[in-house]
């Protein structure tokens, strides 16, 4: 049994999903849908059609699960409910504050049309969320900590690029080692924003630009940098391309808690990711959840779901018997 996957949106994430499908023999790429001219889009997989997004509905019977690879700011809030009319879908909606509203909008459509929609797959939200939930369920008396990095923050890099006389920029979010160690001690410290992460910026300025002004504008930018210890390095365009071309990321989810009749024992649960490619890892998570979505649809378990609703066994290509024999 092969699960036929459609990809809607062929950027970094869409290409990542295409690569992930190649690693999972039970998944098969059936079609790519794009908002660009389909003839201008060259994909990696041979003999798979690229269609205009406007033609998607016509191909609904050829796709078991459609993976929506747009952005959370403007694409997914409309795309996920729209396509859940016709398809079982997975998205990676990652605006934490509006997840409940997105869930409700998608659930209404999915329920009405007998489709399964899994939202917010990826690593945060996603694998990090799962680890927060498991750790909280197991250690109800404790404290949670999430650290991000070392990794490239796209939003912060963009914010630097909008400064006058900046040609290009890359911003790394870096967790502070001393804060990580304090958390791992089990002492449940209260940590300020500044104590948890630092920000390191690599900036290509236009020739003759006032570097001191640019540095000051970065370091004092509200929300993005003002609350952090920020380092700014001015480098050449060549150096940026050579040394800062990747999209690495990662982070840590740690919960420490107490057990015992008088809470006399301390426990530390730590989950961490170190990722060479943020979009490819996100895509790999999405591919596993597409398998689960297909299985739920087969069972008739319709509606909107999150990673919290998916029994782990549904993610694996192995049978329940194999999993119990080899992975438990």
């Amino acid at each position: 049994m092969t699960i036929r996957i459609g990809i809607l949106g062929y950027g970094n994430l869409g290409r990542g999903v295409e690569c992930a499908i190649r690693q999972n023999p039970d998944l098969q790429l059936a079609a790519v849908f794009t908002r660009r001219n389909p003839e201008s889009v060259k994909i990696l997989t041979e003999n798979v059609p690229v269609y205009s997004v406007d033609e998607a509905q016509a191909h609904k019977d050829e796709i078991d699960v459609l993976i929506l690879c747009g952005g959370s700011a403007t694409d997914l809030p409309t795309q996920t409910p729209a396509f859940a009319q016709w398809f079982n879908v997975v998205d990676s909606f990652d605006t934490h504050a509006t997840i409940p509203a997105h869930f409700d909008a998608v659930d209404a459509v999915a329920q009405k049309n007998g489709k399964v929609a899994l939202i917010s797959a990826g690593w945060d939200p996603g694998m990090f969320s799962l680890n927060r939930l498991y750790a909280n369920a197991v250690l109800p008396c404790g404290a949670d900590y999430t650290f991000w990095g070392k990794g490239v923050s796209q939003g912060h890099s963009d914010a630097i690029r909008r400064i006058e006389c900046v040609k290009d920029a890359r911003q790394y979010t870096i967790p502070v080692d001393a804060a990580l160690e304090a958390v791992r001690s089990g002492s449940q410290p209260n940590l300020s924003t500044r104590e948890k992460h630092t920000r390191e910026c690599f900036v290509v300025a236009e020739e003759g630009a006032d570097l001191a002004r640019i540095e000051n504008e970065i370091k004092t930018m509200p929300n993005y940098f003002a609350d952090y210890d920020t380092t700014v390095h001015f480098i050449s365009e060549e150096e940026l391309k050579k040394n800062h071309n990747g999209i690495p990321h990662g982070g840590f989810v740690i919960r420490t808690g107490k057990t015992g009749w008088n809470e006399e024992n301390t426990h530390v649960i730590e989950y961490s990711l170190k990722l060479d490619s943020n979009p490819e890892f996100t895509s790999s998570v999405i591919a596993a959840y597409a398998r689960a979505v297909y299985r739920l649809a087969q069972k008739g378990d319709f509606g909107c779901k999150t990673v919290f609703d998916i029994a782990p066994a549904l993610l694996s290509a192995q049978s329940p018997e194999e999993l119990r024999a080899h992975m438990l």
Copy 2:
């Protein structure tokens, strides 16, 4: 809605479950069942009855979930199927090799009697198994590593105690730092048993015992020590009591894998536990799964389950809406 929990077997694990119930306001200890004389068993919770295990069936309507706190060697293989006739049950069966047989025996009884039975809750099997499954589903092209420790191995400590002229002993399993670092590099090394863990033994010998003989018997013991670099320290009974009285444990589950069209990117997923009390942490996992078992029983989803079959949201006292708003 309070979930009424019964504890069968009041040793370290049973006491740990009692402590965990105290931390979860939706769980309530309803009764303890013991193979000892009930009058000789003093529990920590006030106004909760202690009954003989022979009376358990008579109290089946007072218990929503019965937690079986016996051992995997001889207790659980018979207890779990026996009590799944009358109760929804949770056990921590941890003999990995015979989990499939145990599952089948328990499933037959649970299905027939309309009960839910969750086996092998804890951390390995348990939280470690979950992390193996999630990481394998997300990174199909990769390698798995599990390290245990630093922690006390009860089985290895017992093996030392059986040596002639040994009064008492404590054995620590310790992961080798260099092996952990090699794994975290993503190089997918092949590691021998000896390269992954060392064993450190603290031994109280009888007066006048031949210490060289004891040390040699430990270090050459097949299965337990012969394949490891083992260190033996002879200490006094007082020192053992003072410095080695706890039951700490923990470990690491690491998967590294590749993504990308040509597998050009490497990712590291790491989960680790650092536990002051092995039985109390195991008990805390069991308590969360007891909540899930109760909810499955309410839905009529009967039969034997493992951690792989339980949607994460079922473990939490929070509602699905709260979880999506605050933990996703």
